[in-house]
C-alpha cells in the first residue's frame, strides 16, 4: 500500500505504538448526565476519542407522519464537529455520518422497549468532539448510557468496541495509525446480558478463523465496557445515603 504518512511498523517488539498489549483497550471514561437540557446524556472518552450523546424524549414526533401507532420512532443522528479531525470536516451530515447514524440506530434499537412508547419519538443526538478512531463504538457506548439516563425502559445496555488486524496481528480497539494503516477493522456491539450482537461491520481482509477470534476479543471487552457503563449510571443516580452505605460495606 502506498498511503502517505504510514509508519514503518505498527508493532515494535511485540508492543503497539502506544505501548498497549494486543488485547488491551484504551482508557475508557464514562460520565452520565452531562447535558442538563437533555432527558438523558453521557460523555465517553475512549483513548483520544470523545463522544457526547443526548437523548430527548419520548416526545412528540416531528415530522408527524413518522409517528408509529405501535411503537416509538427511534431517531439517531451521529455527527462530527468540524474541528474533531486532522483536516477540518465540513459541518453537517456526510455520507459517512448518515451510514453511521443508521448502523448506530440499528445497534441501539434491539435494547429499547420501543413498543412501550407508541406514537412518540426518541431522539438520540451524538456529537464526536475529538476523533481518534473508534468513533462509532464510543457513540454507541455513550448513547446507551444516555438512553438509560433518560429513564427509557430497556432490555439491556448496549456495549461496543472494535477489533482489527494490523501487521498480521489481531488487536483490540485500534487507535488512529492502526485504523488508518491496518489490514482490517471490525466494529461490534452487543447486549452483554444475552450476548446478542446488535452491530457488526468489517472491512479489510480476514479469514473466517480470524473473524471468530476478533468476535471473541470484542465480546470479552464488551463485558468490561458494560461494567463501566453501569458504574457511570450508578454514580449519577446514587444518593449520598447510597454512597455512604457502599462505603460502609467496603470497609
Amino acid at each position: 500500500m502506498s498511503k502517505v504518512g504510514a509508519p514503518d511498523k505498527l508493532i515494535v517488539n511485540g508492543k503497539r505504538l502506544d505501548g498497549r498489549k494486543f488485547d488491551e483497550m484504551r482508557e475508557l471514561t464514562i460520565k452520565a448526565g452531562i447535558i442538563p437540557n437533555a432527558d438523558g446524556s453521557a460523555q465517553v472518552d475512549l483513548g483520544g476519542t470523545r463522544a457526547i450523546a443526548a437523548v430527548y424524549g419520548p416526545r412528540e414526533v416531528f415530522p408527524r407522519h413518522l409517528s408509529d401507532p405501535d411503537k416509538a420512532y427511534l431517531n439517531c443522528i451521529y455527527t462530527m464537529v468540524s474541528f474533531s479531525t486532522p483536516d477540518r470536516a465540513r459541518p453537517g451530515p456526510s455520507r459517512r455520518s448518515v451510514e453511521i447514524s443508521k448502523v448506530v440506530k440499528d445497534a441501539l434499537a434491539p435494547a429499547i422497549f420501543l413498543e412501550k412508547y407508541p406514537k412518540t419519538a426518541i431522539d438520540v443526538y451524538i456529537e464526536i468532539i475529538n476523533a481518534n478512531a473508534g468513533t462509532r463504538t464510543a457513540a454507541i457506548i455513550a448513547a446507551a448510557v444516555a438512553l438509560a439516563d433518560a429513564g427509557i425502559e430497556m432490555r439491556d445496555l448496549v456495549s461496543s468496541i472494535a477489533a482489527g488486524k494490523v501487521d498480521g496481528e489481531l488487536l483490540l480497539d485500534l487507535f488512529e495509525p492502526e485504523d488508518n494503516f491496518g489490514d482490517a477493522d471490525m466494529p461490534f456491539a452487543m447486549m452483554p446480558r444475552t450476548k446478542e450482537i446488535t452491530l457488526l461491520q468489517m472491512d479489510g481482509e480476514l479469514t473466517k478463523d480470524e473473524i471468530a477470534e476478533l468476535l471473541k476479543m470484542n465480546m470479552k471487552a464488551c463485558e468490561k465496557i458494560y461494567e463501566a457503563q453501569k458504574v457511570a449510571l450508578k454514580e449519577k443516580f446514587a444518593t449520598e445515603k447510597d454512597l455512604a452505605q457502599e462505603e460502609g460495606e467496603s470497609q
Binding site: V98, V103, D106, P110, I197, T198, M202, I211
Partner: protein
C-alpha cells in the same frame, strides 16, 4: 403487515419460503454484460424480480492527498422512485448511502481494482472510476444484485482515451485497455425472522425481517467486508455459520462473473 411476519416466520419454521425456495437458495439470477453502449462498462443483473443496472464511467482528476499514486473509486446509488412505490425523489437517503458504501467497501478494502495502475502522474493525475448503481425494480436484496453487477461492470470496463498533452479525456474514444482487476469480492446477504436465518430476502421478507447480514467474500475464501443491518440481533454462532455459507455461496455467484 401485521400478518406478514407471523406467516413468513411460520413458513421458515418449516424450512419453507413463500416462493418455494429452500432457505439457503438464491432466486434465479440472470446477467447481462455491457447493456449500455455509452458506459465504459456496465451490467444488468436480475435476482428474481429484483433488477439492478450498474455503470462505470471514468475520468481523470487529482488523487486524494493520502494516496497520491492511486486511482480513485467513487460509488453512488440512486434509489429512483421508478424502482419501488415506496421510494421518493430527492437526494440519497440512508438506505441508498448504505447500499453504495457497503458495495464500495467490499471492492475498496480487498483492492479489487489495482488502484496503483490507475495512476497517470503521482500527486497530479489519476483515473477516477465512478460506479453508479441504479435499481430498476427492487424486490429485495439490492446488496447482492448491486455487488454482482458492480463486479461484472468493472470486469468488462475499458478505459477511454486520454490525451495527455491537451489534458483531456476523449470520452467517445474507448481504448481496448481493461480496468486492472486483482480479485473479485461478492456480497452474500442473509436475513433473519424470529430466529430463522435465510439467504437472498425478497422485498416482503425484508419488510418482515428483524436483521440482515451481508458478507463480502473473495475467491480464496477470505472475507473483505461485512455489514449487519436491521433492528434485530445475531448470535456469535449464527454469524460464524453464515460466514461459512457465504464462502460457499460466493463460489456459486462467482461462476456468473465468467
Amino acid at each position: 403487515m401485521k400478518t406478514l411476519k407471523p406467516y413468513l416466520s411460520a413458513l421458515l419454521g418449516k424450512q419453507m419460503r413463500e416462493d418455494n425456495r429452500g432457505v439457503y437458495d438464491y432466486r434465479d439470477i440472470q446477467v447481462e454484460v455491457n447493456p449500455v453502449a455509452r458506459a465504459n462498462g456496465s451490467a444488468r443483473v436480475r435476482i428474481g424480480a429484483t433488477e439492478v443496472l450498474v455503470g462505470v464511467k471514468m475520468n481523470v482528476d487529482k488523487p486524494f492527498p493520502d494516496t497520491p499514486d492511486e486511482g480513485v473509486l467513487i460509488v453512488n446509488a440512486e434509489l429512483s422512485p421508478l424502482a419501488n412505490a415506496e421510494y421518493e425523489p430527492g437526494p440519497p437517503g440512508p438506505a441508498a448511502i448504505e447500499l453504495a458504501r457497503v458495495v464500495d467497501r467490499g471492492i475498496r478494502e480487498s483492492h479489487a481494482i489495482d488502484f496503483e495502475k490507475l495512476c497517470i502522474r503521482p500527486k497530479e493525475k489519476v483515473w477516477v472510476v465512478f460506479l453508479d448503481i441504479y435499481p430498476i425494480n427492487d424486490d429485495g436484496n439490492l446488496f447482492d444484485a448491486a455487488s454482482l453487477a458492480a463486479m461484472i461492470a468493472l470486469k468488462h470496463a475499458v478505459l477511454p482515451k486520454y490525451d495527455e498533452k491537451a489534458d483531456q479525456v476523449l470520452y467517445k474514444e474507448l481504448t481496448k485497455e481493461k480496468l486492472p482487476m486483482r480479485v473479485q469480492p461478492l456480497l452474500t446477504t442473509f436475513a433473519k425472522i424470529n430466529g430463522s436465518t435465510f439467504i437472498d430476502p425478497t422485498k416482503r421478507e425484508e419488510k418482515a425481517m428483524d436483521a440482515r447480514l451481508s458478507v463480502a467474500t473473495l475467491e480464496d475464501g477470505q472475507i473483505s467486508a461485512m455489514q449487519k443491518g436491521g433492528t434485530g440481533t445475531f448470535t456469535q454462532k449464527e454469524i460464524l455459520d453464515l460466514i461459512e455459507l457465504a464462502i460457499e455461496k460466493g463460489k456459486e455467484l462467482r461462476k456468473l462473473l465468467k
